[in-house]
């Protein structure tokens, strides 16, 4: 894959990754700002859910972004 194709080839995975990272930042802030009552406890619990169950997806996305992008653009037009 040429360097020109690289951004397009990884864009979807990269933006997904960025989205999870931003969510993590906001959930961390929300968990920190949550009041000490039932509402705040629910917020912290949801944050814990995000970090435990959703954020790990970034690990897979990172691998996808770093993987050889030639597999995205390498197939010739005629092959479709």
């Amino acid at each position: 894959v040429t360097i020109v194709d690289l951004p397009g080839a990884v864009a979807t995975d990269y933006l997904d990754l960025l989205g999870y990272a931003l969510y993590a930042w906001l959930w961390a802030r929300m968990a920190g700002a949550a009041p000490d009552d039932a509402f705040g406890a629910a917020k912290r619990h949801t944050a814990a859910f995000f970090f435990a169950r959703l954020l790990p997806r970034t690990l897979a996305l990172e691998q996808s972004v770093l993987a050889d992008s030639g597999v995205v653009m390498g197939l010739a037009d005629e092959a479709f």
Partner: protein, 499 residues
């Protein structure tokens, strides 16, 4: 669709997470906004969203928009709801105070938009484009254009639409073909076709201000040759009100998977009169002032849709009688803890919490219990119905009902009304081990009618007839069945005592 404004979450974001009052003080703006004002703004818009706008969501989507003689008709009630939105000043909330806007912080506007989106995305699409159009004109229009258009857009008397996409040019606007010919009077004649034009035509307001991208005759190639024009449906006359009809119309309505109450139009401009916004060939940058706002707003649309879906899911999980915990029947817990908890204990707690309502729903079904009419007539009254009663013995059980309902996991709610084949409020009754074993040991979930209903007995040891489903009459015609039930109202006693 039922929608409750997420007040606690909004207050949390404003006052705990973003600490808006300090943030606003730091930037030296909005200092006059106290907590009370902020809460009042949010509460009022929440009321409007949940009470006036949300109820139109589902009917509006079913009815959809129609194109009649070149004029788009919106679903019933949209006109009134949009008028309420406009009269409340919600479209000019963050607008320029110089031209009738309220100059409220955008952050507040975001929270409010989220609620309007959640309540009815179809309806608020007319609103968001109006807000976006006013932002664009405020940023790039001439003083005269601002004075002419902004007050009416802020007040919702007129709405706006953005016309970019052409059949062959969506994201790639550099190749668009719509032409703008200069006219001696200083205006332009716009000719071309645009697709996917949201709110391109409708009957909610007196005028629709299209912001159209077009190419001047000598324009350079690509995106550097695009200019932006105001093209109103009715040309403003001397005193600024909507006057002569402009030469463009909706050619058809686009087919969509949802938001059918929002008119997405194919627009045909046939030498329509347009007014240049900003500089020639600088149109794309000006349009993207609007586009960027719409991107933010459509993000909020997703947030609103998510909130609405979440609320519906929690309601459903609390009412749906389905499944059991892998670790066995869940003990009754304190009510109202968490959605997940509600899911776990739905077979028990939802039963108890909703027993009254469900009984009310079941009543008419039981009344119709499909037994021969004459036998029903002769059934003895409350307290006397026993397994030994000759007529009870011979009553047919209705396998049809069970077959119809067995194993269906995607049953729609109305069917739940007739599907609980036992006394709901006895589901976890400790003094009825026979009943519990009967119901829960089967592994088919508590809401599947199991076994012979005649075996179930009430506290006096008398078997009670169990709902056997709607009668064939009711099946043939629900309404007719109900009417028949009303006529045979006295037969209720045949179904035994109720609690």
């Amino acid at each position: 669709m039922e929608y409750h404004p997420p007040r606690d979450d909004q207050a949390f974001l404003l006052f705990c997470l973003f600490d808006v009052k300090r943030a606003w003080r730091d930037i030296g703006a909005f200092g006059e906004f106290g907590d009370d004002l902020i809460r009042a703004v949010i509460d009022e818009s929440g009321k409007l969203a949940s009470q006036a706008i949300a109820p139109l969501n589902e009917p509006g989507d079913r009815e959809g928009c129609r194109l009649e003689d070149g004029q788009v008709r919106t679903p019933a009630g949209f006109r009134e709801a949009f008028a309420a939105l406009a009269e409340g000043g919600w479209l000019g909330l963050s607008g320029n105070p110089e031209f009738g806007g309220q100059g409220m912080p955008k952050l507040l506007g975001c929270l409010i938009e989220e609620m309007f989106w959640a309540a009815n995305a179809s309806l608020y699409l007319y609103g968001t484009l109006t807000v976006g159009g006013s932002i664009c004109i405020d940023a790039h229009g001439s003083a005269a254009q601002k004075a002419r258009y902004l007050p009416r857009l802020y007040a919702g008397e007129w709405t706006a639409a953005m016309a970019l996409t052409e059949a062959h040019a969506g994201t790639d606007l550099g190749i668009m073909r719509t032409r703008a010919e200069p006219h001696p009077d200083g205006t332009y004649r716009i000719t071309g076709n645009k697709i996917f034009i949201t709110s391109g035509d409708h009957d909610l307001a007196d005028n629709i201000v299209h912001l159209v991208l077009a190419r001047l005759p000598d324009a350079p190639e690509g995106t550097r040759g695009i200019s932006l024009f105001i093209v109103p449906k009715y040309l403003p006359d001397e005193d600024g009100s909507a006057g002569e009809r402009n030469a463009f119309a909706a050619g058809s309505l686009e087919h969509k998977m949802g938001i059918h109450g929002s008119a997405t139009c194919v627009m045909n401009y046939d030498g329509a009169t347009g007014f240049l916004v900003g500089e020639e060939n600088q149109g794309l940058a000006a349009m993207f002032t609007m586009m960027n706002y719409e991107r933010l707003s459509v993000g909020l649309q997703g947030l609103g849709a998510g909130e609405l879906a979440y609320q519906a899911a929690v309601r459903y999980a609390r009412e749906r009688l389905q499944g059991r915990s892998p670790s066995g029947p869940v003990k009754r817990r304190r009510p109202g803890r968490s959605a997940a908890g509600a899911c776990r204990r739905a077979p028990h707690a939802a039963h108890h919490a909703c027993a009254q309502r469900r009984r009310a729903r079941l009543r008419h079904v039981r009344r119709h219990a499909a037994r021969p009419r004459q036998i029903r007539r002769r059934l003895p009254g409350p307290g006397l119905v026993g397994a030994s009663h000759p007529h009870r013995q011979g009553l047919p059980h209705r396998p049809r009902l069970r077959v119809r309902r067995a194993g269906a996991t995607g049953i729609r709610r109305p069917r739940l009304r007739g599907r609980v084949g036992r006394r709901a409020d006895r589901a976890g009754c400790p003094d009825r081990p026979d009943l519990r074993g009967h119901q829960r040991g089967s592994g088919h979930g508590p809401d599947q009618p199991q076994g012979d209903p005649r075996r179930r007995r009430d506290a006096e040891g008398a078997a009670r007839p169990i709902c056997a489903g709607p009668s064939w009459r009711a099946r043939a015609s629900r309404a007719g069945g109900r009417r028949a039930a009303a006529r045979r109202g006295g037969h209720r006693r045949g179904a035994g005592p109720r609690r």
